[in-house]
């Protein structure tokens, strides 16, 4: 609640800039059209037309909102023209990929912290793996998985996993190594087993890092799912909407799919934040 006024202010400023930018970016088209039609055009007319084009360079905020409204609220959610339906398709792949990525990331981090060979060999290659442009190999992954008989949700989820495990590894390695020398020494004096040290010291101290990484991983995972949708033949999902929008120059549709993606991501990240607050509160850290 305390944040509402600042957020609204910032949003208001952005919307204002946005409208201005829409005029600036779309004016050329309006002028060209008018010239072709031998039509004189006044300033107010110009401004209004830049805000109501069919295929603007930059759609005005109200156009995007209208499109969002029409494709979410006014459409049956099972319809292929409903953004809710497409969002759900993407979300399910995102969640599956996120779960797999988190599991893989945590497992790798535990390995890196506890197994010396892994500590020394895995990290550079994990980093290198992230410099590979996923968009380039996503189609190949999909093709290979398809050839292996995997299709539908799983290939997309695999790409999500590929993108989301990285922040988790990095964050968790840092988090699992966060305990101070003295805290680790204490555990030694009690001759705690590695499992006990992990559960009672390393894991609790890694919680803030884990949650920070999970938020990044969730966003990455959504991007992964969308990327994964592109080469599955643009069948359904927000990625397919983006793609279809871009073939047909439907900027309004692109922007609304884009916003839907951001809304989904924000909601998921918000959810993680909620879990984080509850967990940290239970742990007495918030």
């Amino acid at each position: 609640m305390r944040n509402l006024i600042p957020v609204l202010t910032v949003v208001a400023v952005i919307v204002a800039i946005w409208y201005a930018a829409a005029v600036w970016l779309n004016a050329q088209w309006v002028l060209d059209t008018a010239a072709r039609q031998d039509r004189e055009i006044g300033t107010s007319e110009l401004v209004l037309e830049t805000w109501s084009q069919d295929k603007p360079r930059l759609p005005a905020p109200h156009q995007v909102v209208t499109e969002l409204w029409e494709t979410t609220v006014e459409k049956n959610i099972t319809s292929k023209r409903s953004l809710v339906y497409h969002a759900w398709v993407t979300l399910s792949a995102t969640l599956a990929g996120f779960a797999m990525g988190t599991a893989l990331g945590v497992a790798l981090a535990v390995g890196i912290v506890y197994v010396r060979v892994m500590d020394m060999s895995v990290m550079p290659w994990v980093i290198a793996s992230q410099t590979i442009p996923i968009l380039a190999i996503a189609p190949m992954i999909i093709v290979v998985l398809n050839a292996m008989g995997l299709s539908g949700l799983l290939p997309k989820a695999m790409i999500s996993m590929y993108l989301s495990f990285f922040p988790v590894v990095v964050g968790m390695v840092k988090g699992l190594r966060a305990p101070s020398r003295m805290q680790l020494d204490q555990m030694r004096t009690w001759n705690a087993t590695q499992g006990q040290e992990f559960l009672r010291l390393r894991l609790p101290s890694s919680m803030p890092y884990l949650f920070a990484s999970l938020k990044i991983a969730m966003a990455a995972s959504l991007v992964g799912a969308i990327v994964g949708e592109l080469p599955t033949g643009a069948v359904a999902g927000l990625g397919a909407r983006l793609l279809a929008g871009s073939y047909y120059g439907q900027t309004i549709q692109i922007w609304s799919a884009l916003f839907m993606a951001a809304i989904v991501a924000a909601a998921m990240v918000g959810l993680i934040g909620l879990v984080q607050r509850l967990t940290l509160k239970r742990m007495g850290m918030a």
């Binding site: 050329q28 088209w29 059209t33 072709r36 069919d54 295929k55 360079r57 319809s79 292929k80 023209r81 409903s82 968009l135 996503a138 189609p139 190949m140 093709v143 290979v144 398809n146 050839a147 592109l230 080469p231 599955t232 033949g233 643009a234 069948v235 359904a236 397919a240 909407r241 793609l243 279809a244 929008g245 871009s246 073939y247 047909y248 120059g249 439907q250 549709q253």
Partner: protein, 308 residues
């Protein structure tokens, strides 16, 4: 029924109406086939899918299919439902381009991914350099839409008669605002949407039999679509999972597609093949294919059987 999967080279649209019609009208069923149609997209190389085992047949253009062959993909054309080429170069009149002589100094946009090959051939035939140097043209890669043309990032752009051209018109330009060069008219047309499969498949009699029935049903679908364009467009729309296609656009597209398929009974015309190869081989300094693959790249075995 026997299962068979088809990989398209692009998203669901009237360009592939024949296959959707055949599926919808039960032509495949009549041949005891259960066909899965997999839509494509900008990042799908149908050849990869085919060789990866994700599909049994694919739709592709001959230039890119031949390029893939040279790079080690053993693929063969088994049918050619498209007779003529729908490729063209569309320019805005305001830039003062009226004929190919006016190209030098201008920026021409084209899709890549194999689609740039005909343009490069054309330019080399005209004797223009393509690196933006004096007296040559600048080639610019553009995405599969017409925004760069509308926003004047390029002066001419590759369009298809059945799709992008109409997007330009829909954007509010009139045919009078445009100058259009059809590849077909410039004598550099190359074969478009054909059906391809792997050499391995062709050695398997059972597969050959399936493919024969598939081609027969598909051609029936195409001819039905040609005669009933509006119904075909409706069928395409029903099969579009993205929900992004519009009725007006698809009906218009179907009309244009019908013009391209009308001259073909499904069998590849060897003369068309040779012309395409010639165009490709003449593509200047860096030709995409270096030698004529000859009859290894196509076969009439399927169509002969299917079209009796």
């Amino acid at each position: 029924a026997d299962e068979l999967s088809l990989q398209l080279k692009w998203v669901t649209q009237a360009q592939f109406a024949g296959y959707y019609v055949a599926a919808d009208k039960g032509f495949y069923e009549e041949e005891d086939l259960d066909v899965t149609i997999k839509p494509g997209g900008p990042d799908i190389a149908p050849v990869q899918v085919l060789l990866g085992g994700g599909a049994d047949v694919m739709v592709d253009w001959l230039p890119s299919a031949l390029a893939a062959r040279e790079n080690g993909a053993p693929i063969v054309n088994i049918a050619q439902p498209f007779k003529s080429s729908g490729l063209m170069l569309t320019c805005l009149k305001e830039h003062g381009i009226e004929s190919p002589e006016d190209f030098p100094g201008h920026t021409l946009g084209t899709w890549f991914f194999g689609n740039e090959l005909p343009l490069y051939s054309w330019m080399s035939k005209l004797g223009y350099a393509t690196d933006g140097s004096e007296g040559g043209v600048t080639i610019q890669k553009i995405n599969f839409n017409v925004d760069p043309l509308l926003q004047k990032q390029v002066e001419c752009a590759t369009t298809m008669t059945y799709n992008e051209y109409w997007q330009v018109i829909d954007a509010g330009l009139t045919p009078e605002d445009l100058v259009v060069f059809k590849y077909e008219d410039e004598g550099i047309s190359t074969l478009e949407d054909g059906l391809y499969t792997t050499e391995a498949n062709l050695e398997d009699p059972e597969m050959v039999d399936k493919l024969t029935r598939f081609v027969r049903a598909s051609m029936k679908g195409w001819k039905y679509a040609e005669e009933n364009p509006d119904e075909a467009a409706e069928i395409v729309l029903e099969n579009d999972a993205t929900g992004a296609q519009t009725e007006v656009h698809q009906k218009r597209m179907m009309g244009e597609i019908a013009k391209l398929t009308s001259g073909s009974n499904g069998a590849l015309d060897p003369a068309d093949f040779e012309r395409t190869v010639d165009v490709l081989l003449s593509a200047g300094a860096d030709p995409v294919i270096t030698e004529n693959p000859g009859e290894a790249a196509w076969t009439h075995a399927i169509t002969d059987e299917a079209l009796q």
